[in-house]
Amino acid sequence: MIEVKEVFYSFRKGTPQEIKALSGVSFSIYPGEFVSIIGPNGSGKSTLAKHLNALLIPQEGDVYVCGLNTKKAEPYLIKRIVGMVLQNPENQAVASVVEEDVAFGPENLGLPSSEIVKRIEEALRSVGLWEYRQYPSHLLSGGQKQKLAIASILAMEPEYLILDEATNLLDHVGRSEVIEVINFLNSKKKVAVIQITSSMEEVLLSKKVAVMNNGRIILTGSPEKVFVNSEILRKTNLEAPDVVKLSQEFIQLGILDRVCFAEEDLVSSLCSLRLKN
Protein backbone atom coordinates (compact mmCIF):
# COMPACT_ATOMS: atom_id res chain seq x y z
CA MET A 1 0.00 0.00 0.00
CA ILE A 2 1.18 3.51 -0.79
CA GLU A 3 0.06 6.19 1.64
CA VAL A 4 0.43 9.88 0.94
CA LYS A 5 -0.15 11.93 4.05
CA GLU A 6 -0.63 15.72 3.98
CA VAL A 7 2.18 16.29 1.48
CA PHE A 8 3.33 19.79 0.57
CA TYR A 9 5.89 20.48 -2.12
CA SER A 10 7.08 23.67 -3.85
CA PHE A 11 9.58 24.16 -6.62
CA ARG A 12 12.22 26.83 -6.03
CA LYS A 13 11.06 26.96 -2.45
CA GLY A 14 12.03 30.06 -0.56
CA THR A 15 12.67 32.16 -3.68
CA PRO A 16 10.40 34.80 -5.21
CA GLN A 17 9.65 32.37 -8.07
CA GLU A 18 8.33 29.74 -5.71
CA ILE A 19 5.70 27.53 -7.35
CA LYS A 20 3.43 25.58 -5.06
CA ALA A 21 2.97 22.17 -6.70
CA LEU A 22 1.33 20.20 -3.90
CA SER A 23 -0.60 21.84 -1.12
CA GLY A 24 -1.66 19.16 1.30
CA VAL A 25 -2.32 15.97 -0.63
CA SER A 26 -3.51 12.82 1.12
CA PHE A 27 -4.17 9.73 -0.89
CA SER A 28 -3.87 5.95 -0.68
CA ILE A 29 -3.23 3.35 -3.34
CA TYR A 30 -3.86 -0.31 -2.58
CA PRO A 31 -2.12 -3.34 -4.09
CA GLY A 32 -3.56 -4.37 -7.46
CA GLU A 33 -5.54 -1.18 -8.02
CA PHE A 34 -5.86 0.66 -11.33
CA VAL A 35 -5.91 4.38 -10.59
CA SER A 36 -5.99 7.42 -12.87
CA ILE A 37 -4.75 10.82 -11.81
CA ILE A 38 -6.25 13.59 -13.93
CA GLY A 39 -6.32 17.35 -13.79
CA PRO A 40 -5.37 20.42 -15.81
CA ASN A 41 -1.77 21.34 -16.66
CA GLY A 42 0.16 22.43 -13.61
CA SER A 43 -2.29 20.88 -11.16
CA GLY A 44 0.48 18.79 -9.60
CA LYS A 45 -0.16 15.35 -11.18
CA SER A 46 3.44 14.63 -12.13
CA THR A 47 4.77 16.05 -8.89
CA LEU A 48 2.49 13.74 -6.96
CA ALA A 49 3.56 10.77 -9.09
CA LYS A 50 7.22 11.52 -8.44
CA HIS A 51 6.55 11.36 -4.72
CA LEU A 52 5.22 7.84 -5.01
CA ASN A 53 8.60 6.39 -6.00
CA ALA A 54 10.87 8.74 -4.08
CA LEU A 55 12.02 10.75 -7.08
CA LEU A 56 10.85 13.63 -4.94
CA ILE A 57 10.79 13.72 -1.17
CA PRO A 58 7.98 15.64 0.57
CA GLN A 59 8.94 19.01 2.05
CA GLU A 60 6.11 18.57 4.50
CA GLY A 61 4.10 15.45 5.23
CA ASP A 62 5.09 11.84 4.55
CA VAL A 63 4.84 9.16 1.90
CA TYR A 64 4.87 5.53 2.98
CA VAL A 65 5.53 2.82 0.41
CA CYS A 66 4.74 -0.61 1.89
CA GLY A 67 5.47 0.89 5.27
CA LEU A 68 8.76 2.50 4.23
CA ASN A 69 8.96 6.25 4.72
CA THR A 70 10.48 7.74 1.57
CA LYS A 71 12.28 10.31 3.68
CA LYS A 72 14.27 7.63 5.45
CA ALA A 73 14.44 4.52 3.26
CA GLU A 74 17.17 3.94 0.66
CA PRO A 75 15.75 5.48 -2.56
CA TYR A 76 16.57 2.43 -4.69
CA LEU A 77 14.59 0.18 -2.37
CA ILE A 78 11.49 2.29 -3.04
CA LYS A 79 12.17 2.18 -6.77
CA ARG A 80 12.15 -1.59 -6.86
CA ILE A 81 8.64 -1.52 -5.38
CA VAL A 82 7.29 1.35 -7.46
CA GLY A 83 8.32 1.54 -11.12
CA MET A 84 7.66 4.36 -13.54
CA VAL A 85 7.37 4.81 -17.31
CA LEU A 86 7.81 8.30 -18.75
CA GLN A 87 6.21 10.08 -21.67
CA ASN A 88 8.96 10.15 -24.25
CA PRO A 89 9.71 6.75 -25.79
CA GLU A 90 13.05 7.98 -27.15
CA ASN A 91 14.90 8.72 -23.94
CA GLN A 92 14.26 5.79 -21.67
CA ALA A 93 16.44 3.03 -23.09
CA VAL A 94 19.87 3.00 -21.50
CA ALA A 95 21.40 0.23 -23.62
CA SER A 96 21.42 -0.28 -27.37
CA VAL A 97 20.12 -3.85 -27.40
CA VAL A 98 16.68 -4.75 -26.06
CA GLU A 99 17.67 -7.46 -23.57
CA GLU A 100 20.60 -5.46 -22.26
CA ASP A 101 18.27 -2.59 -21.57
CA VAL A 102 15.92 -4.83 -19.60
CA ALA A 103 18.94 -6.12 -17.70
CA PHE A 104 19.91 -2.65 -16.49
CA GLY A 105 17.44 -2.50 -13.59
CA PRO A 106 18.11 -5.98 -12.15
CA GLU A 107 21.84 -5.33 -12.53
CA ASN A 108 21.49 -2.23 -10.39
CA LEU A 109 19.70 -4.32 -7.78
CA GLY A 110 22.77 -6.53 -7.64
CA LEU A 111 20.95 -9.74 -8.59
CA PRO A 112 22.94 -12.82 -9.65
CA SER A 113 23.26 -13.30 -13.38
CA SER A 114 21.06 -16.41 -13.57
CA GLU A 115 18.22 -14.51 -11.89
CA ILE A 116 18.68 -11.55 -14.25
CA VAL A 117 18.39 -13.82 -17.28
CA LYS A 118 15.22 -15.38 -15.88
CA ARG A 119 13.65 -12.00 -15.19
CA ILE A 120 14.51 -10.68 -18.64
CA GLU A 121 12.68 -13.55 -20.26
CA GLU A 122 9.65 -13.15 -18.05
CA ALA A 123 9.48 -9.37 -18.52
CA LEU A 124 9.95 -9.49 -22.29
CA ARG A 125 7.35 -12.25 -22.66
CA SER A 126 4.84 -10.25 -20.59
CA VAL A 127 5.02 -7.31 -22.99
CA GLY A 128 5.36 -9.48 -26.10
CA LEU A 129 8.87 -8.41 -27.06
CA TRP A 130 10.66 -11.71 -26.44
CA GLU A 131 11.29 -12.17 -30.17
CA TYR A 132 12.99 -8.78 -30.22
CA ARG A 133 15.45 -9.48 -27.39
CA GLN A 134 18.51 -9.14 -29.64
CA TYR A 135 17.09 -6.20 -31.58
CA PRO A 136 18.67 -2.71 -31.48
CA SER A 137 16.38 -0.68 -29.21
CA HIS A 138 16.44 2.44 -31.37
CA LEU A 139 14.92 0.57 -34.32
CA LEU A 140 11.75 -0.35 -32.42
CA SER A 141 8.49 1.51 -33.11
CA GLY A 142 7.19 4.05 -30.60
CA GLY A 143 4.77 1.59 -29.05
CA GLN A 144 7.43 -1.09 -28.83
CA LYS A 145 9.82 1.36 -27.17
CA GLN A 146 7.25 2.09 -24.49
CA LYS A 147 6.65 -1.63 -24.04
CA LEU A 148 10.39 -2.04 -23.65
CA ALA A 149 10.36 0.68 -20.99
CA ILE A 150 7.59 -1.24 -19.23
CA ALA A 151 9.53 -4.51 -19.50
CA SER A 152 12.63 -2.82 -18.07
CA ILE A 153 10.58 -1.86 -15.04
CA LEU A 154 8.88 -5.27 -14.79
CA ALA A 155 12.26 -6.96 -14.56
CA MET A 156 12.63 -5.26 -11.19
CA GLU A 157 9.36 -6.98 -10.18
CA PRO A 158 7.56 -3.90 -8.86
CA GLU A 159 4.21 -4.02 -7.11
CA TYR A 160 3.19 -0.64 -8.49
CA LEU A 161 3.66 0.81 -11.96
CA ILE A 162 3.29 4.54 -12.63
CA LEU A 163 2.63 5.66 -16.20
CA ASP A 164 3.31 9.36 -16.65
CA GLU A 165 1.55 10.21 -19.94
CA ALA A 166 3.13 7.06 -21.33
CA THR A 167 0.83 6.84 -24.36
CA ASN A 168 0.68 10.53 -25.18
CA LEU A 169 3.27 10.55 -27.97
CA LEU A 170 2.19 7.29 -29.58
CA ASP A 171 0.07 6.73 -32.64
CA HIS A 172 -3.11 4.69 -32.59
CA VAL A 173 -1.41 1.32 -33.03
CA GLY A 174 1.26 2.04 -30.43
CA ARG A 175 -1.31 3.28 -27.97
CA SER A 176 -3.47 0.16 -28.32
CA GLU A 177 -0.41 -2.08 -27.89
CA VAL A 178 0.59 -0.35 -24.67
CA ILE A 179 -2.95 -0.32 -23.29
CA GLU A 180 -3.24 -4.03 -23.95
CA VAL A 181 -0.05 -4.70 -22.00
CA ILE A 182 -1.14 -2.51 -19.11
CA ASN A 183 -4.48 -4.27 -18.87
CA PHE A 184 -2.73 -7.62 -18.91
CA LEU A 185 -0.33 -6.61 -16.15
CA ASN A 186 -3.08 -5.26 -13.97
CA SER A 187 -5.56 -8.08 -14.39
CA LYS A 188 -3.26 -11.11 -14.76
CA LYS A 189 -0.05 -10.14 -12.98
CA LYS A 190 -1.80 -8.12 -10.27
CA VAL A 191 0.50 -5.14 -10.69
CA ALA A 192 -1.14 -1.96 -9.42
CA VAL A 193 -1.24 0.70 -12.15
CA ILE A 194 -1.25 4.44 -11.54
CA GLN A 195 -1.70 6.36 -14.77
CA ILE A 196 -1.45 10.06 -15.38
CA THR A 197 -3.22 10.79 -18.61
CA SER A 198 -4.94 13.52 -20.53
CA SER A 199 -6.91 11.00 -22.56
CA MET A 200 -10.27 10.65 -20.90
CA GLU A 201 -10.93 7.48 -22.90
CA GLU A 202 -7.98 5.87 -21.09
CA VAL A 203 -9.34 6.99 -17.74
CA LEU A 204 -12.32 4.70 -18.40
CA LEU A 205 -9.93 1.73 -18.16
CA SER A 206 -9.26 2.43 -14.49
CA LYS A 207 -11.43 1.73 -11.47
CA LYS A 208 -10.56 4.79 -9.43
CA VAL A 209 -9.88 8.38 -10.44
CA ALA A 210 -8.25 11.17 -8.47
CA VAL A 211 -8.98 14.63 -9.82
CA MET A 212 -6.35 17.25 -9.02
CA ASN A 213 -6.57 21.01 -9.12
CA ASN A 214 -4.11 23.60 -7.79
CA GLY A 215 -2.02 21.06 -5.92
CA ARG A 216 -4.93 19.36 -4.21
CA ILE A 217 -7.00 16.30 -4.83
CA ILE A 218 -10.52 17.63 -5.11
CA LEU A 219 -12.36 14.42 -5.87
CA THR A 220 -11.75 10.68 -5.78
CA GLY A 221 -14.17 8.14 -7.15
CA SER A 222 -15.01 5.83 -9.99
CA PRO A 223 -14.77 7.21 -13.54
CA GLU A 224 -18.54 6.88 -13.73
CA LYS A 225 -18.90 9.18 -10.76
CA VAL A 226 -16.30 11.71 -11.89
CA PHE A 227 -17.46 12.10 -15.48
CA VAL A 228 -21.03 12.98 -14.58
CA ASN A 229 -19.91 15.59 -12.06
CA SER A 230 -20.22 18.59 -14.34
CA GLU A 231 -19.19 21.04 -11.65
CA ILE A 232 -15.84 19.35 -11.08
CA LEU A 233 -15.25 19.00 -14.80
CA ARG A 234 -15.91 22.67 -15.37
CA LYS A 235 -13.69 23.72 -12.49
CA THR A 236 -10.77 21.65 -13.78
CA ASN A 237 -11.34 22.44 -17.43
CA LEU A 238 -11.63 18.73 -18.23
CA GLU A 239 -14.01 17.19 -20.72
CA ALA A 240 -15.90 13.96 -20.27
CA PRO A 241 -15.15 11.27 -22.89
CA ASP A 242 -17.03 11.62 -26.18
CA VAL A 243 -19.28 8.66 -25.35
CA VAL A 244 -20.37 10.25 -22.10
CA LYS A 245 -21.02 13.65 -23.66
CA LEU A 246 -22.96 12.11 -26.52
CA SER A 247 -25.13 9.93 -24.33
CA GLN A 248 -25.85 12.91 -22.09
CA GLU A 249 -27.08 14.76 -25.14
CA PHE A 250 -29.34 11.86 -26.02
CA ILE A 251 -30.70 11.95 -22.48
CA GLN A 252 -31.56 15.62 -22.95
CA LEU A 253 -33.26 14.80 -26.21
CA GLY A 254 -35.25 12.17 -24.37
CA ILE A 255 -33.84 9.34 -26.46
CA LEU A 256 -31.76 7.58 -23.80
CA ASP A 257 -32.44 7.29 -20.10
CA ARG A 258 -28.95 6.70 -18.73
CA VAL A 259 -25.33 7.67 -19.31
CA CYS A 260 -23.17 5.21 -21.29
CA PHE A 261 -19.49 4.83 -20.51
CA ALA A 262 -18.53 2.49 -23.33
CA GLU A 263 -19.08 2.71 -27.05
CA GLU A 264 -20.57 -0.79 -27.21
CA ASP A 265 -23.03 0.23 -24.53
CA LEU A 266 -24.10 3.36 -26.42
CA VAL A 267 -24.40 1.48 -29.70
CA SER A 268 -26.49 -1.33 -28.25
CA SER A 269 -28.66 1.12 -26.28
CA LEU A 270 -29.45 3.00 -29.48
CA CYS A 271 -30.13 -0.21 -31.35
CA SER A 272 -32.37 -1.61 -28.64
CA LEU A 273 -34.62 1.45 -29.00
CA ARG A 274 -35.50 0.25 -32.45
CA LEU A 275 -36.11 -3.32 -31.30
CA LYS A 276 -38.65 -2.11 -28.74
CA ASN A 277 -40.77 -1.00 -31.63
Binding site: P40, N168, L246, F250, N277
Partner: protein, 286 residues
Amino acid sequence: MLVKIKELTFIYGEGLPWQKKALDNISLSINKGDIYAIMGSTGSGKSTLIQHFNGLLFPTSGTVVVNGIEIKSGVDLKKLRKEVGLVFQFPEQQLFGETVLEDISFGLKKLGLNVLENEERITESLDLVGLEPEKFLNRSPLYLSGGEKRKVALAGVLSMKPSILVLDEPTAGLDPHSRIDIMASLLDYIKKNEATMVIVSNKLDEIANCCNRGLVLHEGFVIFEGSFLDLFQYPDILFRAGLELPFFPRLYHRLKEKDLKLSRIPLTREDFTLGVRKCLASHRLF
Protein backbone atom coordinates in the same frame (compact mmCIF):
# COMPACT_ATOMS: atom_id res chain seq x y z
CA MET B 1 -2.73 24.01 -59.22
CA LEU B 2 -0.57 24.94 -56.27
CA VAL B 3 1.19 21.67 -55.57
CA LYS B 4 1.52 18.99 -58.19
CA ILE B 5 3.44 15.83 -57.42
CA LYS B 6 3.81 13.18 -60.06
CA GLU B 7 5.14 9.69 -59.53
CA LEU B 8 7.42 10.78 -56.73
CA THR B 9 9.76 8.13 -55.43
CA PHE B 10 12.28 8.84 -52.74
CA ILE B 11 15.06 6.55 -51.62
CA TYR B 12 17.26 7.33 -48.62
CA GLY B 13 20.93 6.58 -49.22
CA GLU B 14 20.41 5.63 -52.84
CA GLY B 15 22.95 3.21 -54.24
CA LEU B 16 24.29 2.39 -50.80
CA PRO B 17 23.88 -1.00 -49.19
CA TRP B 18 21.44 0.30 -46.56
CA GLN B 19 19.22 2.24 -48.96
CA LYS B 20 15.57 2.46 -48.06
CA LYS B 21 12.63 3.35 -50.20
CA ALA B 22 10.61 5.84 -48.16
CA LEU B 23 8.15 6.95 -50.83
CA ASP B 24 6.97 4.86 -53.74
CA ASN B 25 5.30 6.38 -56.77
CA ILE B 26 3.31 9.13 -55.05
CA SER B 27 1.06 11.40 -57.08
CA LEU B 28 -1.12 14.15 -55.65
CA SER B 29 -2.39 17.59 -56.44
CA ILE B 30 -3.44 20.35 -54.10
CA ASN B 31 -5.41 23.38 -55.19
CA LYS B 32 -5.24 26.87 -53.82
CA GLY B 33 -7.35 27.16 -50.69
CA ASP B 34 -7.41 23.42 -49.99
CA ILE B 35 -7.01 22.05 -46.51
CA TYR B 36 -5.28 18.83 -47.36
CA ALA B 37 -4.53 15.99 -44.96
CA ILE B 38 -1.62 13.58 -45.17
CA MET B 39 -2.45 10.66 -42.93
CA GLY B 40 -0.51 7.62 -41.86
CA SER B 41 0.99 6.02 -38.81
CA THR B 42 4.56 6.61 -37.63
CA GLY B 43 7.08 5.58 -40.25
CA SER B 44 4.66 5.62 -43.17
CA GLY B 45 6.65 8.30 -45.01
CA LYS B 46 4.56 11.35 -44.14
CA SER B 47 7.45 13.45 -42.90
CA THR B 48 9.60 12.50 -45.87
CA LEU B 49 6.83 13.52 -48.23
CA ILE B 50 6.36 17.02 -46.82
CA GLN B 51 10.09 17.71 -46.87
CA HIS B 52 9.73 17.76 -50.65
CA PHE B 53 7.31 20.69 -50.44
CA ASN B 54 10.06 23.25 -49.87
CA GLY B 55 13.00 21.40 -51.33
CA LEU B 56 14.61 20.05 -48.17
CA LEU B 57 14.66 16.79 -50.10
CA PHE B 58 14.80 16.27 -53.84
CA PRO B 59 12.90 13.46 -55.55
CA THR B 60 14.88 10.36 -56.46
CA SER B 61 12.52 10.14 -59.41
CA GLY B 62 9.31 11.87 -60.43
CA THR B 63 8.49 15.55 -60.27
CA VAL B 64 7.40 17.96 -57.56
CA VAL B 65 6.08 21.35 -58.63
CA VAL B 66 5.15 23.88 -55.96
CA ASN B 67 3.86 27.33 -56.83
CA GLY B 68 5.02 26.81 -60.41
CA ILE B 69 8.60 25.98 -59.42
CA GLU B 70 9.91 22.50 -60.09
CA ILE B 71 11.92 21.29 -57.14
CA LYS B 72 15.27 19.87 -58.16
CA SER B 73 18.89 20.59 -57.37
CA GLY B 74 20.22 23.81 -58.87
CA VAL B 75 16.97 25.72 -58.45
CA ASP B 76 17.07 28.72 -56.11
CA LEU B 77 14.73 27.68 -53.35
CA LYS B 78 14.98 30.77 -51.14
CA LYS B 79 11.97 32.44 -52.72
CA LEU B 80 9.92 29.28 -52.50
CA ARG B 81 10.79 28.79 -48.85
CA LYS B 82 9.32 32.20 -48.07
CA GLU B 83 6.04 31.07 -49.62
CA VAL B 84 5.98 27.63 -48.03
CA GLY B 85 5.83 27.66 -44.25
CA LEU B 86 7.01 24.20 -43.25
CA VAL B 87 6.56 23.42 -39.57
CA PHE B 88 8.29 20.33 -38.20
CA GLN B 89 7.01 18.19 -35.37
CA PHE B 90 7.60 19.75 -31.94
CA PRO B 91 8.57 23.14 -33.43
CA GLU B 92 9.09 24.51 -29.91
CA GLN B 93 12.30 22.50 -29.79
CA GLN B 94 13.76 24.89 -32.34
CA LEU B 95 13.19 28.04 -30.30
CA PHE B 96 16.48 29.75 -29.53
CA GLY B 97 15.88 33.47 -28.98
CA GLU B 98 16.37 35.13 -25.63
CA THR B 99 12.90 36.61 -25.91
CA VAL B 100 9.74 35.69 -27.76
CA LEU B 101 10.23 38.86 -29.81
CA GLU B 102 13.70 37.80 -30.94
CA ASP B 103 12.53 34.37 -31.92
CA ILE B 104 9.57 35.52 -33.97
CA SER B 105 11.74 38.14 -35.68
CA PHE B 106 14.21 35.51 -36.87
CA GLY B 107 12.34 34.46 -39.98
CA LEU B 108 10.73 37.83 -40.46
CA LYS B 109 14.09 39.61 -40.77
CA LYS B 110 14.78 37.76 -44.01
CA LEU B 111 11.73 39.29 -45.66
CA GLY B 112 13.16 42.82 -45.75
CA LEU B 113 10.13 44.64 -44.37
CA ASN B 114 10.32 48.04 -42.68
CA VAL B 115 10.23 48.41 -38.90
CA LEU B 116 6.57 49.29 -38.75
CA GLU B 117 5.49 46.35 -40.88
CA ASN B 118 7.67 44.05 -38.83
CA GLU B 119 6.06 45.12 -35.59
CA GLU B 120 2.63 44.78 -37.07
CA ARG B 121 3.35 41.26 -38.27
CA ILE B 122 4.66 40.22 -34.87
CA THR B 123 1.63 41.50 -32.96
CA GLU B 124 -0.70 40.10 -35.56
CA SER B 125 0.82 36.62 -35.41
CA LEU B 126 0.80 36.52 -31.59
CA ASP B 127 -2.83 37.61 -31.63
CA LEU B 128 -3.58 34.84 -34.08
CA VAL B 129 -2.26 32.12 -31.79
CA GLY B 130 -4.03 33.71 -28.84
CA LEU B 131 -1.07 35.07 -26.87
CA GLU B 132 -1.26 38.69 -25.71
CA PRO B 133 1.73 40.50 -27.26
CA GLU B 134 2.30 42.87 -24.28
CA LYS B 135 2.48 39.93 -21.94
CA PHE B 136 4.67 37.64 -23.97
CA LEU B 137 7.01 39.63 -26.24
CA ASN B 138 9.76 40.16 -23.68
CA ARG B 139 9.56 36.81 -21.95
CA SER B 140 12.04 34.04 -22.51
CA PRO B 141 10.48 31.28 -24.60
CA LEU B 142 12.20 28.69 -22.42
CA TYR B 143 10.04 29.45 -19.40
CA LEU B 144 6.66 29.18 -21.10
CA SER B 145 4.32 26.22 -20.75
CA GLY B 146 4.37 23.50 -23.41
CA GLY B 147 1.27 24.82 -25.17
CA GLU B 148 2.55 28.41 -25.12
CA LYS B 149 5.95 27.40 -26.52
CA ARG B 150 4.22 25.62 -29.39
CA LYS B 151 2.12 28.71 -30.05
CA VAL B 152 5.19 30.97 -30.12
CA ALA B 153 6.90 28.64 -32.57
CA LEU B 154 3.84 28.68 -34.81
CA ALA B 155 3.59 32.47 -34.56
CA GLY B 156 7.17 32.63 -35.85
CA VAL B 157 6.11 30.86 -39.03
CA LEU B 158 2.74 32.59 -39.39
CA SER B 159 4.38 36.02 -39.13
CA MET B 160 6.09 35.32 -42.45
CA LYS B 161 2.63 34.96 -44.01
CA PRO B 162 3.31 31.85 -46.05
CA SER B 163 0.74 31.17 -48.74
CA ILE B 164 1.17 27.43 -48.20
CA LEU B 165 1.32 26.20 -44.64
CA VAL B 166 2.65 22.67 -44.19
CA LEU B 167 2.45 21.26 -40.68
CA ASP B 168 3.79 17.99 -39.30
CA GLU B 169 1.46 16.92 -36.48
CA PRO B 170 1.04 20.43 -35.08
CA THR B 171 -0.75 19.30 -31.94
CA ALA B 172 1.33 16.24 -31.01
CA GLY B 173 1.97 15.83 -27.30
CA LEU B 174 -0.22 18.70 -26.14
CA ASP B 175 -3.15 18.77 -23.74
CA PRO B 176 -6.66 18.72 -25.26
CA HIS B 177 -7.28 22.43 -24.79
CA SER B 178 -4.05 23.55 -26.43
CA ARG B 179 -4.86 21.16 -29.27
CA ILE B 180 -8.19 22.80 -29.88
CA ASP B 181 -6.69 26.31 -29.59
CA ILE B 182 -3.97 25.55 -32.10
CA MET B 183 -6.27 23.99 -34.67
CA ALA B 184 -8.55 27.02 -34.36
CA SER B 185 -5.67 29.49 -34.83
CA LEU B 186 -4.46 27.66 -37.90
CA LEU B 187 -7.89 27.67 -39.50
CA ASP B 188 -8.21 31.33 -38.62
CA TYR B 189 -4.94 32.09 -40.38
CA ILE B 190 -5.97 30.18 -43.49
CA LYS B 191 -9.23 32.07 -43.69
CA LYS B 192 -7.74 35.51 -43.15
CA ASN B 193 -4.89 35.05 -45.60
CA GLU B 194 -6.59 32.86 -48.18
CA ALA B 195 -3.76 30.42 -47.70
CA THR B 196 -3.52 26.71 -48.38
CA MET B 197 -2.83 24.20 -45.63
CA VAL B 198 -1.32 20.75 -45.70
CA ILE B 199 -1.60 18.99 -42.39
CA VAL B 200 0.13 15.76 -41.44
CA SER B 201 -1.66 13.79 -38.80
CA ASN B 202 -2.36 10.39 -37.36
CA LYS B 203 -5.27 11.65 -35.27
CA LEU B 204 -8.21 11.76 -37.63
CA ASP B 205 -10.54 12.96 -34.90
CA GLU B 206 -8.74 16.24 -34.96
CA ILE B 207 -8.77 16.91 -38.68
CA ALA B 208 -12.03 15.27 -39.72
CA ASN B 209 -13.94 18.51 -39.28
CA CYS B 210 -11.62 20.86 -41.07
CA CYS B 211 -9.99 19.01 -43.96
CA ASN B 212 -11.82 18.35 -47.16
CA ARG B 213 -9.41 16.02 -48.89
CA GLY B 214 -6.33 14.00 -48.23
CA LEU B 215 -4.30 10.89 -48.76
CA VAL B 216 -3.41 7.92 -46.63
CA LEU B 217 0.16 6.67 -46.68
CA HIS B 218 1.19 3.21 -45.69
CA GLU B 219 4.81 2.08 -45.87
CA GLY B 220 5.56 4.66 -48.53
CA PHE B 221 2.57 3.88 -50.74
CA VAL B 222 -0.60 5.87 -51.22
CA ILE B 223 -3.45 3.58 -50.27
CA PHE B 224 -6.16 6.21 -50.53
CA GLU B 225 -6.62 9.63 -52.06
CA GLY B 226 -9.83 11.57 -52.06
CA SER B 227 -12.50 13.15 -49.91
CA PHE B 228 -12.95 12.38 -46.23
CA LEU B 229 -16.50 11.19 -46.68
CA ASP B 230 -15.27 8.58 -49.14
CA LEU B 231 -12.45 7.60 -46.83
CA PHE B 232 -14.78 7.03 -43.91
CA GLN B 233 -16.95 4.74 -46.04
CA TYR B 234 -14.17 2.16 -45.98
CA PRO B 235 -12.89 1.47 -42.48
CA ASP B 236 -10.59 -1.23 -43.90
CA ILE B 237 -8.29 1.34 -45.47
CA LEU B 238 -7.72 3.08 -42.18
CA PHE B 239 -7.31 -0.20 -40.37
CA ARG B 240 -4.62 -1.25 -42.82
CA ALA B 241 -2.82 2.06 -42.33
CA GLY B 242 -2.96 1.65 -38.54
CA LEU B 243 -5.24 4.65 -38.10
CA GLU B 244 -8.36 4.98 -36.03
CA LEU B 245 -11.65 6.00 -37.56
CA PRO B 246 -12.90 9.22 -35.89
CA PHE B 247 -15.53 8.88 -33.20
CA PHE B 248 -18.69 9.71 -35.14
CA PRO B 249 -17.92 7.76 -38.32
CA ARG B 250 -16.91 4.89 -36.05
CA LEU B 251 -20.29 4.94 -34.32
CA TYR B 252 -21.92 5.09 -37.74
CA HIS B 253 -20.24 1.84 -38.75
CA ARG B 254 -20.95 0.16 -35.44
CA LEU B 255 -24.62 1.05 -35.71
CA LYS B 256 -24.64 -0.12 -39.30
CA GLU B 257 -23.27 -3.50 -38.22
CA LYS B 258 -26.31 -3.79 -36.02
CA ASP B 259 -28.61 -2.79 -38.87
CA LEU B 260 -29.25 0.74 -37.69
CA LYS B 261 -28.27 2.67 -40.78
CA LEU B 262 -27.98 6.45 -40.68
CA SER B 263 -28.64 8.22 -43.95
CA ARG B 264 -25.07 9.51 -44.26
CA ILE B 265 -21.74 9.42 -42.49
CA PRO B 266 -21.72 11.97 -39.66
CA LEU B 267 -18.62 14.10 -39.10
CA THR B 268 -19.84 16.20 -36.17
CA ARG B 269 -21.99 15.65 -33.13
CA GLU B 270 -24.85 17.63 -34.74
CA ASP B 271 -24.65 15.40 -37.81
CA PHE B 272 -24.81 12.35 -35.63
CA THR B 273 -27.68 13.31 -33.33
CA LEU B 274 -29.66 14.56 -36.29
CA GLY B 275 -28.97 11.31 -38.14
CA VAL B 276 -30.04 9.19 -35.19
CA ARG B 277 -33.19 11.19 -34.65
CA LYS B 278 -34.15 10.96 -38.30
CA CYS B 279 -33.45 7.28 -38.32
CA LEU B 280 -35.50 6.64 -35.19
CA ALA B 281 -38.28 8.85 -36.54
CA SER B 282 -38.44 6.69 -39.61
CA HIS B 283 -39.01 3.78 -37.27
CA ARG B 284 -41.81 5.92 -35.76
CA LEU B 285 -40.18 5.93 -32.38
CA PHE B 286 -39.90 9.64 -31.69
